[in-house]
Amino acid sequence: MNLHLRLDALRNARDTLLQQPLATLLTVLALAIVLALPVGLFTALNNLQLLLGQWRDQAQISLYLHNDASAADVAKLRARIEHSTGVVAVHYISRAQALADFEHSAGMQAAVDVLGENPLPASLVVEINPLAQSSADLDAQVQSWAKEPVVASAQSDLHWVARLQAILALGTRAVWILALLLALGAVLVMGNTIRLHIAQRRDEIDIASLVGATRSFIRRPFLYQGLIQGLLAGALAWAVVAVAILSLQGPVDRLAALYGTHFTLVGLRPEQGLALIAISAFLGWLGSRIAVGRHLDHTFS
């Protein structure tokens, strides 16, 4: 295949799009909106996961230690736990510190005085990222820590982790279904646009066919049209999501401040943005391919 023919088809596609700037703009906008919607939802879901991943106050596991556990054994266990999946931090709470915290937080000074000795065990408090692994794996991990010789008992409330993960999985699945439907919509939008271009250029197609043009020769400018519009729509969708993230950051900052925290919204990474453009270009190409293929089946029959 001669390069000059491909360049010729590319120029042909570009000129066709530029000759009808409004129609081209509307098609690109429609495609961009169709793409921005699922991408925006994926981004929102990603930010939600990041936010929940930081929700460590509620994702703690307490491992209560035997009173006769040696400091060396406790240190070894702590080191092992620190290297486990999803563990963000491990804090050692000595018996004395536990008692001090108890007295301070519960106002139980008098009761403790009656006991005469410290009844509280030392413990390891493990902070985890609740989304780093499945709830089943997390449960199994806690069970294995509970069986350690130095551990007397483990306390955790991980039911909410399972519920949270189920909700997120549901959201992810819903967004995927929406994305697939909208991708189909993008293909249909492009296919319809190209069908209109084909109708406008029917004479040209027929004449080219008469002088011996192959299907690929006739098809190529239309495929490039779909590709170019898909590329532009992908870039525009990326920009739309980026602008949405920027405009939401202010309200998020104010909301986070009310909870005494800080959260920075994350947009698409460069490789994700480029993947969006590539997928969009592919959808544009695919829509064109289907539309022009159907027409050529008729022309060459």
Partner: protein
């Protein structure tokens, strides 16, 4: 060599357009295809360009059996044929140069050869100085000459013309048909469909006459 062997063409639910056509047209011949409107002249040319399939019989062109030619091989076959239409079939948004260059582009001719060949073809039809003009700015005769340049720019083995002078005045018609005779002198097989009695008489060429789908050909072509 163009060879029709018992070729019949009919459309579903309609009468036969061509009946039992038998014809042997040697390479390098120039013949006229005559007959009244509706006699089947255009259909016969459409069979030769593989725009229509034969219903029965065998149609061989340069060793290719058009009746069994696979769809994917049609473009390559069409690049061996040049076709001139009564209504020119030019791309009105492309200039003269690009209308003619289309034939070479679809044939995959290298870019560096296209310009010289297009210029040569347009020189032959007397339009060497009109390269960048749009068809709409040309007269009917000039548009037809662009169509002829497009049909011969790739030096086809066979040149087919369907009523090429139908919309032209007598002087222009003479010019156009003289062009065809010129290509014929250079070895191209030329088949011109016409019902112009004046031209038929003036040219004095062998004529194949179609009447109600039946072909009456001189003995040397039967």
């Amino acid at each position: 060599m163009i060879e029709f062997i018992n070729v019949t063409k009919h459309y579903p639910g309609r009468r036969h357009v061509l009946r039992e056509i038998n014809l042997r047209l040697p390479k390098g011949e120039m013949v006229l295809l005559t007959g009244p409107s509706g006699a089947g002249k255009s259909t016969l040319l459409k069979l030769l360009t593989r725009l229509e399939d034969v219903s029965h019989g065998t149609l061989m062109v340069g060793g290719v059996d058009l009746a069994t030619l696979k769809r994917r091989h049609i473009p390559a076959y069409r690049r061996r044929v040049g076709v001139v239409f009564q209504d020119h079939k030019l791309l009105m948004d492309r200039d003269v140069y690009n209308n003619v260059a289309l034939t070479l582009k679809v044939a995959g001719v290298p870019a560096r050869q296209i310009e010289s060949r297009v210029r040569a073809a347009l020189e032959k039809v007397g339009l060497g100085d009109r390269l960048r003009e749009l068809p709409a700015t040309l007269s009917g005769g000039e548009q037809q000459r662009v169509g002829i340049a497009r049909a011969i720019v790739h030096t086809p083995e066979i040149l087919l013309a369907d009523e090429p002078t139908g919309n032209l005045d007598p002087a222009l018609s003479d010019e156009i048909l003289d062009l065809f005779r010129d290509f014929h002198r250079h070895g191209t097989t030329v088949l011109v469909a016409t019902h112009d009695a004046r031209q038929i008489a003036r040219l004095g060429l062998p004529a194949l006459h179609l009447e109600q789908g039946r072909l009456h050909a001189p003995k040397e072509f039967s």
